[in-house]
C-alpha cells in the first residue's frame, strides 16, 4: 500500500490545524507512546478518517471528542489494528505498526476498553483479569492439567497480581463473581482492569463514563489519574461527558467527519469557534 500525501486540506473551509503536538511539558524529550501521521481509512468509497495526526506523551491523558459518527471509534480500531489503515502510519513506542495484527499491536503495549462492554461474561471476574496477565506469565499445559506444584505456585502469583489490579477500583471482593452478573458500573471498571492487566503503555478508553452517574464519573476521573500516576502510562479516551474530558484531559483532539478540526488544551477547545460550530451548528443560522 503506498502512502499518498494529502493535499485536500487546503480546499476545505476548516481552519488549518497546527500539526505540532500538544504533549505536556513533563513528557517532552521522552519517546511519545503514540504517534499517528496522516492516518486515514476508506470503507469502499467512504472516507471514515482522514489525515489524522496525533502524538501522545508518555504519561499524558488525552481526549478524543466529536459529534456522533465523527470516526472516534474508527480511530481506536485503527490504533489497535482491528483495521489496517488505508494511508499513514501508527507508531507505538516508536515502532511502526504497519502490517501488524491485533495481537502484535497488543504486545507492543496498547490495550482498550469497549463502548459496549465486551467482558468474557461467563467467566469469573478474576479470570477476566488473568486473561490479560497471560501474556506476561509463562505457562506449561501439562502442569496445568495435572496440577503440579509449579502450577499452584504460579496460580498463587497470578491470583495475587489479579487481586492487586482489582483493588485499584476496590473490586477485590468481587473476584469470584461471574463477570456478567456484575452491576453495570462495575463491569465498566472491570474492563479497565482487564485492559491494565496486559501491561499496556497506552490505555484506550472508549466512553468509560457512559451510563455512569455524576458521582461515579467523579470517582472514575480520580481513578484514571490514579492509574496514570501509579502505572506511568498514557491514556487516550473517547468521551461525551464534557466534565470528564475538560476535567482530566491535558490535550484534547476534536474530530468531525473523520478530520481533526481542533487540538489543544481544555480552554483552547472550549473557546474554539470551529468546535462550537461542529457541536451546535453555525452561529449565523442560529441567529437568523
Amino acid at each position: 500500500m503506498t502512502v499518498r500525501i494529502q493535499k485536500r486540506n487546503q480546499d476545505t473551509k476548516m481552519v488549518p490545524v497546527p500539526s505540532e503536538s500538544i504533549i505536556p511539558e513533563r513528557d517532552l524529550g521522552k519517546l511519545p507512546v503514540l504517534e499517528c501521521k496522516h492516518l486515514g481509512i476508506d470503507f469502499g468509497g467512504l472516507t471514515a478518517v482522514e489525515d489524522f495526526n496525533l502524538t501522545i506523551g508518555k504519561t499524558e491523558i488525552a481526549g478524543l471528542i466529536g459529534p456522533n459518527g465523527a470516526g472516534k471509534t474508527t480511530v481506536f480500531n485503527l490504533l489497535t489494528k482491528v483495521y489496517e489503515p488505508t494511508r499513514g502510519t501508527v507508531m507505538i513506542n516508536g515502532i511502526d505498526t504497519h502490517g501488524m495484527d491485533i495481537v502484535q499491536a497488543s504486545k507492543l503495549g496498547i490495550a482498550r476498553t469497549f463502548q459496549n462492554i465486551r467482558l468474557f461474561s461467563k467467566m469469573s471476574v478474576e479470570d477476566n483479569v488473568r486473561i490479560g496477565l497471560h501474556n506476561q506469565i509463562k505457562y506449561n499445559m501439562f502442569s496445568g492439567i495435572l496440577r503440579l506444584p509449579s502450577y499452584w505456585k504460579r496460580e498463587k502469583q497470578q491470583h495475587e497480581k489479579a487481586l492487586e489490579l482489582l483493588s485499584i477500583f476496590g473490586m477485590q471482593d468481587m473476584a469470584d463473581m461471574q463477570a456478567g452478573s456484575l452491576p453495570y458500573g462495575a463491569q465498566r471498571r472491570l474492563e479497565i482492569v482487564r485492559a491494565l492487566a496486559t501491561n499496556p503503555s497506552l490505555l484506550l478508553l472508549d466512553e468509560p463514563a457512559a451510563g455512569m452517574n455524576p458521582h461515579e464519573t467523579q470517582e472514575l476521573m480520580d481513578n484514571i489519574i490514579k492509574i496514570r500516576d501509579q502505572f506511568q502510562i498514557a491514556v487516550l479516551l473517547i468521551e461525551h461527558d464534557m466534565n470528564l474530558v475538560m476535567g482530566i484531559c491535558e490535550g484534547i483532539c476534536v474530530l468531525n467527519y473523520g478530520k481533526i478540526i481542533a487540538k489543544g488544551t481544555a480552554e483552547d477547545i472550549q473557546s474554539n469557534p470551529v468546535v462550537i460550530e461542529a457541536y451546535l451548528g453555525k452561529q449565523k443560522e442560529a441567529q437568523a
Binding site: 497488543s106 490495550a111 459496549n116 468474557f120 499445559m141
Partner: protein, 294 residues
C-alpha cells in the same frame, strides 16, 4: 438384567458418540463452524491404528499414540489448508468446504486401503470381560475401557479448559473473538489447538469404535460422525458437558430403542428424539440462548 446389560451397552456406545461429539462441539464453540470432516478423521485414525497393529506389529498403546499423533497433525493440516483461508467467508462456504473435505478423506482412504472392509484386530484392547451378579451381567473389556476412557477424557478436558492458559484462551475466543484478540490472544493458534485436540480425541474414538464394531471401511466414520453431531446438537452445541450428556443419552436411546421398539427403526428413533428435543428446547439440553451483540 437384560435391561441392565442393554443400558451398559448403550452407555458404552454413547461414550463413543460423546468423545466424537466433543470434537464437533469444541470446534463449533471456538471457530463457529461445523467440521463435517470430523467423522472421517475418526475413520483415518482407526485405519492408522489398524496399520500399526497389523503391519508394523507395535504394541496397542503405541498404536494408539501413533494414531492420535497422526490425527492431530491431520486436524491441524485440514484447518490450516481448508478452513483458515475461509475465516472471513460466509458460514455456508465453510460448511461446503467441510463436506468436500469429508469426501476427500473418504476417497483418499478408498485409494489407500481399498473398498474391502478390514477386520479391526481384537488385540487392541485385551482386557478380560467382567461378570456381575453371578454371571448374569457380563461387561466386555471393550465396553469397560470405552466408558472409562470417556470419564477420563471428560475430567482431563474440563481441567484443561478451566485451568490452563490455552483452555482459558479457548473460552475467551468462543465468547468474543474480537475482544480476545485485543487481549493478546492469538486466535489462529487457539483454533489450531482446538482442531488438534478434537482430532486426537477422534483417533481415540475411532479405535474404540472399531474395537466394539470391528468392520473398518472408508465410510466407517460417516454414520457415527452424523450421530455424534446429533449428540452435540442434542446436548447443546458449543457446550462440552452438553456433548458428553448428549452423546451418552443418544447411545442409550439408540440401544434401548433397538432392543425394545424396533431393530430397524433404531436410527429413526434417535433422530426423532433429536427433532422433539429441538422443538421443545431449540438450544439443546445444556445450550444457552445466544445473546445478540449490538
Amino acid at each position: 438384567m437384560i435391561f441392565l446389560s442393554n443400558l451398559v451397552n448403550g452407555i458404552s456406545l454413547g461414550s463413543i458418540y460423546a468423545i466424537i461429539a466433543l470434537g464437533y462441539t469444541m470446534v463449533y464453540g471456538i471457530a463457529k463452524m461445523l467440521n463435517f470432516a470430523h467423522g472421517d478423521v475418526i475413520m483415518i485414525g482407526a485405519y492408522i491404528a489398524f496399520c500399526a497393529l497389523q503391519y508394523w506389529n507395535v504394541p496397542p498403546l503405541l498404536a494408539l499414540l501413533i494414531a492420535m499423533a497422526f490425527c492431530t497433525l491431520l486436524g491441524i493440516t485440514i484447518e490450516g489448508l481448508a478452513y483458515r483461508p475461509l475465516r472471513q467467508a460466509t458460514s455456508l462456504a465453510v460448511l461446503i468446504t467441510a463436506i468436500g473435505m469429508s469426501y476427500l478423506l473418504q476417497n483418499l482412504a478408498l485409494l489407500i486401503w481399498g473398498a474391502n472392509p478390514k477386520n479391526f484386530p481384537s488385540s487392541m484392547i485385551q482386557i478380560p470381560a467382567i461378570s456381575l451378579f453371578g454371571e448374569q451381567l457380563r461387561i466386555s473389556g471393550v465396553t469397560l475401557v470405552t466408558i472409562l476412557a470417556n470419564i477420563v477424557i471428560m475430567i482431563l478436558l474440563t481441567s484443561f479448559t478451566m485451568h490452563t492458559k490455552l483452555g482459558k484462551a479457548m473460552r475467551c475466543v468462543s465468547e468474543d473473538r474480537g475482544a480476545a484478540e485485543l487481549m493478546g490472544i492469538n486466535v489462529n493458534q487457539t483454533i489450531s489447538a482446538t482442531f488438534a485436540i478434537g482430532s486426537a480425541l477422534a483417533a481415540i474414538a475411532g479405535i474404540l469404535l472399531c474395537s466394539a464394531y470391528p468392520t473398518l471401511m472408508p465410510t466407517t466414520g460417516s454414520m457415527p460422525g452424523i450421530k455424534a453431531f446429533t449428540a452435540a446438537v442434542f446436548g447443546g452445541i458449543g457446550s462440552i458437558p452438553g456433548a458428553m450428556l448428549g452423546g451418552v443419552l443418544l447411545g442409550v436411546i439408540e440401544i434401548l430403542g433397538k432392543a425394545y421398539i424396533s431393530t430397524e427403526l433404531g436410527d429413526a428413533i434417535v433422530f426423532a428424539v433429536l427433532i422433539i428435543v429441538l422443538l421443545v428446547k431449540p438450544t439443546g439440553l445444556l445450550g444457552k440462548p445466544q445473546r445478540e451483540k449490538v
